[in-house]
Amino acid sequence: MLEHLPALQVVVPLMSAPLIVLLRRPGAAWLVSTLASFAAFAIAVALALRVAATGTVSYAMGSWPPPWGIEYRVDALSAFMLVLVAGVAALVMPYARRSVAAEVPERQVYLFYAMYCLCVAGLLGMTITGDLFNVFVFLEISSLSTYVLIALGRGRRALLAAFQYLIVGTIGATFYVIGIGLLYLVTGSLNFVDVAQRLSGVGELRPVLAALAFITVGLGLKLALFPLHQWLPNAYAYAPSVVTTFLAATATKVSVYVLVRFYFLVFAPSQALEGVPVGAVLVALSAAAIVAMSLVAVFQPDLKRMFAYSSVAQIGYITLGLGVANESALTGSLAHLVNHGVTKCALFLLVGGIVLRGGDTSFASLAGLGRRMPWTSFGIVIAGLSLIGVPATAGFTSKWYLIAGAAEQGSWWIVALLVAGSLIAVAYVWRFVEVAYLAPAPAGAAVHEPPWSMRIPQAVAVALCVVLGLFTAFNVGYARRAVDLLLGGGQ
């Protein structure tokens, strides 16, 4: 069974979805979903350890050898992402029992968990596959289940948010398919490694440049690259808390991962990127994202929306590192995938606790939260410190590498930008501190924390924010390995 782990990584959550549809009862649905997520996490950790010990693992689906068949390829970069996605999926599950029961109507709870398993399977499949079109298939599996998950939120605005995300997301996926169609027409292959090898021999550069443009815009829509981010604040604000947590930590990160794979392992080895200012464009857009979105976050009336805009700004940090593209900046970018994933996971888990106990996350109703929910407020402050990038938290490690990368390149305006972004983050985290600790609580408010099944995942996530800042073997260490792989051209 051990040599089939790459296939099982996707098959276990994928098969649990129809099983949940057959079982129908909410308790059984949650149990199957939890077991599937924990199994997926165990498989991801096993794969990561194997890759660290022996190098890239290649698995031929259906025993058809690549490039004729679909190949599942686990190397340092994909193992890194698998652990992140499966880890967040598993962490959120114990929390989900009470949270989903409170936010989703009971006769739809089993459908929620079925869609959740499909989303996890789709994201894991996107990460692990080594075939261009297979990425599209899993992208659409995860996107369609995401649209349903968002639409299951309370209130009618969730429906509109899901519809807007559907339109934008489908345009993004369509552009991605156009891009890989052009690559297929030019090279005749659909395997990442094979396309990279054949692309260097291609004479006609125009289709390759068109493919680069379409893939960038298509994936940019999915990863909420500024200014293609308009769907994100509504989708995160009106979805159920579990969905916001899972999406904020994983969905955009996996699209960044696919984009990184394309830039460094498919287009970079060929001559296609010579003279095309992809890095400069990414840096410009990321700079706009960091400053503009952080400023917009400061003025939001609702806590969830504030953190949603903050997510767009943090994705700007990740794409900034991609644009600068030297070793330190790339390490910072990849480490930030995990660091930001863990930070936002903690933040939205805590906000979900507030939703369970109070229902409203607007700043007007959060007055005195420090007295009503002391542990929750403390957790939000710690995770907020990680968002700012205070030393000894996870956010600091990636920002350090980004600043180092920008300094190495001599772009001091980027260093100033990164510091400015952190200062604006202080502003919006301070808004929460001010409302929670310095505003008087409404009369008669007792201490009412969420139940233990929710508090333990929250505590684990917040602890990870600090632990990953102090023991960087996973986030930075693995990121370094992945960067060696990327800059070495896939060896």
Binding site: A7, L14, L19, G62, S63
Partner: protein, 142 residues
């Protein structure tokens, strides 16, 4: 529409031919245009024709809701199950070569069962989509 004689008779006459044609398309997928998705859609179209002419409650008596929902899940499980069968027989996931002593015949077997799974899922999904849209506004709790 169920009071119109021509529509009633023609719908009842057409249904068995449509179902037979769906089976033909299903099993000839490897030799000509066809396969699981196309066959599933034609099966669903047959039942939807019945539903349009005779009304949704009559179609629900013909194919109960619980069966339709279970079929969706069972089709996916059949497809994934073929993959697991490949694993258990010693090959990779979704390996058809090991499903029979002769690898070529194993390919035929694998494709046959996979297409059966696809047809079951697609027909039930199409029917479910139709009945969900058609019953909107009639069931107060949907």
């Amino acid at each position: 529409m169920k009071n119109d004689l021509v529509l009633r008779v023609v719908a009842k006459l057409f249904m068995p031919f449509m179902l037979l044609f769906a089976l033909y398309v299903q099993f000839h997928g490897e030799l000509g245009p066809g396969g699981g998705f196309q066959a599933g859609v034609i099966v669903a179209a047959a039942v939807i024709l019945y539903a349009i002419v005779f009304g949704l409650p009559a179609a629900r008596r013909l194919v109960p809701d619980a069966i339709v929902e279970s079929m969706m899940a069972i089709g996916v499980l059949i497809y994934a199950g073929v993959g697991v069968a490949g694993l258990l027989m010693g090959g990779a996931y979704l390996d058809y070569f090991v499903l029979d002593r002769d690898p070529v015949h194993g390919q035929e077997r694998g494709i046959f069962w996979v297409e059966v799974g696809v047809a079951i899922t697609v027909s039930s999904v199409m029917l479910k989509i139709f009945s969900m849209f058609a019953s909107r506004g009639h069931d107060p709790d949907e």
